[in-house]
């Protein structure tokens, strides 16, 4: 029976999403290491189905400044992926990509946005590819959009855009270790429910 909202996902569905998260994060760590030109290790990602308000808190509270890179998924699956990074991680990325010390994530220049958009593109593609490879579905992603603002204001956008009937999102929490620092990066996956059913169906998972 197809599910009609994210609350109906059972332990097995969550395991499948975890595996997708694992493969995606693995690919992402490799790409990230190439971009940053340094070794990047990863901790096994944690996949959770969270309320938006819980996700706010997991990211330091709704008013915490964060950078989000968002892309639309289309093809066989319709949805939104959003990659959320802290100020600390943003600074580390800009330092290694543009060799600049950045002090204020509230105001990003076009060059900085473009660099972060590229990182987001790589990260989102890593996950989208892991989903596509496992499910043999055709998944494309749009050119990413970058915004820095209150994390709470960013997190509600995908759910609102998808006209979601619930306040739940699929939250993949990744910790990457690079330059002896652990940096947190989070991937949000907000598929429309029909797409989630398509995905589980292609993976041969009983719904």
């Amino acid at each position: 029976m197809p599910i009609s909202n994210l609350e109906q996902l059972n332990a097995m569905h969550i395991d499948v999403l975890k595996e997708i998260g694992n493969i995606g994060a693995g690919n992402a760590a490799t790409s990230l290491a190439q971009m940053m030109n340094s070794k990047v290790d990863m901790v096994t990602p944690v996949v959770r189905i969270l309320d938006i308000s819980e996700a706010d808190n997991a990211l330091g509270g709704p008013e915490t400044l964060a950078v989000a890179i968002l892309a639309e998924l289309y093809g066989d699956i319709h949805g939104i992926m959003m990659f959320v990074i802290s100020q600390g991680f943003t600074k580390a990325l800009l330092k290694s990509l543009l060799n600049e010390e950045h002090s204020d994530c509230r105001r990003l220049s076009d060059m900085e946005k473009s660099a972060l958009s590229e990182i987001g593109n790589i990260m989102i593609s890593s996950y989208a590819n892991s989903i596509a490879t496992l499910s043999k579905l055709n998944i494309q992603i749009s050119v990413p959009a970058v915004t820095s603002d209150m994390v709470g204001a960013l997190l509600t956008v995908p759910a609102a855009e998808m006209g979601s009937v619930s306040d739940k999102i699929i939250f993949i929490q990744d910790d990457f270790i690079t330059l002896n620092k652990t940096i947190s990066a989070d991937m949000l996956l907000i598929p429309d429910i029909d797409s989630l059913n398509t995905l589980m169906g292609s993976l041969g998972i009983e719904l």
């Binding site: 968002l70 915004t147 603002d149 209150m150 759910a159 855009e161 306040d167």
Partner: protein, 161 residues
């Protein structure tokens, strides 16, 4: 002064004077401050989407502008407010992301603002002030003693309406 009354996403809180309400980090969502200046009871609602889907009558009514506001007004009336005296101040409805390949993306904020205005008009509630649209997140405070709405953002700092 009592503690801050926190309004979550898809939620409304109503309280007698004196109260200070807050709802954090509105993006495309809209915050609606309802007020009766005579009894000074106030309410703050945080809606996420414009209209309630017809086929799901049981789903959360406070998520949608068109179902949240009439219900919020009823809650206000329980605190002695009269609808004919009620006024509103609204904030939020931003377009947080610009997706280059999809110009329709991000219009949900605008649709939320329109739905809120339409619903308030149908309830004959006048909008005294608004801080809506643009491309940044807002935290909204509402003070029942003064009827003032304070909007806090990274982009514009603190503004009082």
């Amino acid at each position: 002064m009592s503690e801050l009354i926190v309004v979550n996403i898809s939620d409304v809180k109503v309280a007698p004077n004196p109260s200070i309400f807050v709802t954090y980090a509105l993006g495309s969502c809209v915050g609606i401050c309802l007020y009766d200046p005579i009894v000074k009871s106030a309410g703050l609602a945080h809606i996420m989407l414009p209209s309630h889907p017809d086929e799901k009558p049981s789903s959360q009514i406070f998520r949608y502008a068109d179902t949240c506001l009439p219900e919020s007004v009823k809650l206000m009336e329980k605190f002695g407010c009269m609808r004919s005296r009620m006024t509103a101040k609204i904030a939020g409805g931003a377009k947080m992301f610009k997706v280059a390949s999809d110009s329709a993306f991000g219009n949900i904020g605008q649709r939320n603002i329109e739905a809120v205005k339409k619903t308030l008009a149908s309830l004959h509630i006048k909008i005294l002030a608004e801080d809506t649209g643009a491309d940044y997140g807002r935290t909204v405070y509402f003070n029942s003693q003064t009827g003032k709405m304070t909007v806090k953002s990274f982009a514009k700092g603190i503004k009082v309406f």
